[in-house]
Subunit: 204 residues, 2 copies
């Protein structure tokens, strides 16, 4: 009986349709302005239909949140070829910052907004987060082994590195870097200089 399979496929296609529309609207107008009604309008279905495929708005944005991690992951893995773990760490860090500055809405959803994390509480774990953090852990582990960075606890070091780059990006994304009273491109230069300084301090 292939009907059940077709139904399942159609269900998945409808979910994709919603996600594609939601992602497009989200990146164009932000989270708040991406209402269930605006998605419904866009895909030419009634708002109630969306609730046949998603539990609530959070579930939609949880999927977008997961997709965003896939995109970031692809960016970060570009540097897998760099043999020196410290230089690899530097490349990963710069790419992380670049991703945040160039995709502020995605970054917001991944690391700042509360909405997607509500979903994770009900599910098992923050799989996407663990994947990205695991990548940082292995890179830092190599750095420590080869004595390229100052010796310290692996997790403490990882939290230090992640917190720093997250701080840079999130202060920028949430418009607190205005205290510098500099034009946008100069502000960005300060951010990257700050990252360089951080890496210099980390180096052994």
């Amino acid at each position: 009986m292939a009907i059940k399979e077709r139904k399942e496929r159609e269900k998945q296609e409808m979910r994709n349709l919603v996600i594609e529309s939601a992602t497009q609207l989200f990146l164009k107008q932000g989270y708040d302005k991406t209402s269930i009604r605006s998605i419904a309008d866009d895909i030419e279905y009634s708002p109630a239909t969306i609730y046949l495929y998603f539990k609530d708005k959070d579930e939609i944005f949880y999927v977008i949140h997961e997709n965003a991690f896939d995109i970031l992951d692809k960016h970060l893995r570009q540097h897998d070829g760099i043999a020196d773990p410290f230089e690899r760490l530097r490349a990963i860090g710069r790419t992380y910052i670049k991703f945040g500055l160039e995709n502020p809405d995605y970054y917001d959803l991944m690391f700042i907004m509360r909405a997607p994390m509500e979903q994770i509480k009900n599910e098992e774990k923050w799989k996407a987060g663990e994947c990205a953090f695991g990548y940082l852990l292995t890179t830092l582990s190599e750095c420590l082994e080869q004595k390229r960075i100052r010796p310290a606890d692996l997790h403490v070091t990882a939290i230090m590195v992640w917190s720093f780059v997250h701080g840079l990006v999130s202060l920028y994304v949430r418009e607190r870097m205005c205290i510098l009273m500099l034009p946008d491109d100069t502000t960005r230069e300060v951010l990257y200089s700050s990252f360089d300084l951080f890496m210099a301090n980390l180096k052994m």
Copy 2:
């Protein structure tokens, strides 16, 4: 004619009444659940009355945002007496983190939420932010003068320090530290250890 003065005083008292109620509700239930109607209910006035004293919801939370900076400022100034600028910086940093962990809603409003920054765009500058950042700048300036930290550009160093502590607190406040899969008190210990490591790397 003292009537005008009395009226002005009454106007200010009404504003204070709204702010006090809003602050209390905000710290108890968070931003989203603190609606204009819930404030109006609490102070036993109609919702429309609030709009006679405040332009919109953002203006109310901008005042709370400013008050929160006064509170943080008082905490930070406690360490004015520490002669050694590096040790003063360490004390300021720990107090900043402690403030964030113990007052997550205030911290959110001050450094994460978009709402209060909308107000700042229409006004002149982010006065409260500049005051706090200025305090960091003068402390770091002393550290550099006395060669207690590695030589670098003052503003680049300040952004590095602020971004790091902000990253620590904001990842915690927005529940991303769950990747550590540790109980809450252990997570906090990791944060403080991370801060110690950062300071050790900064030291000359």
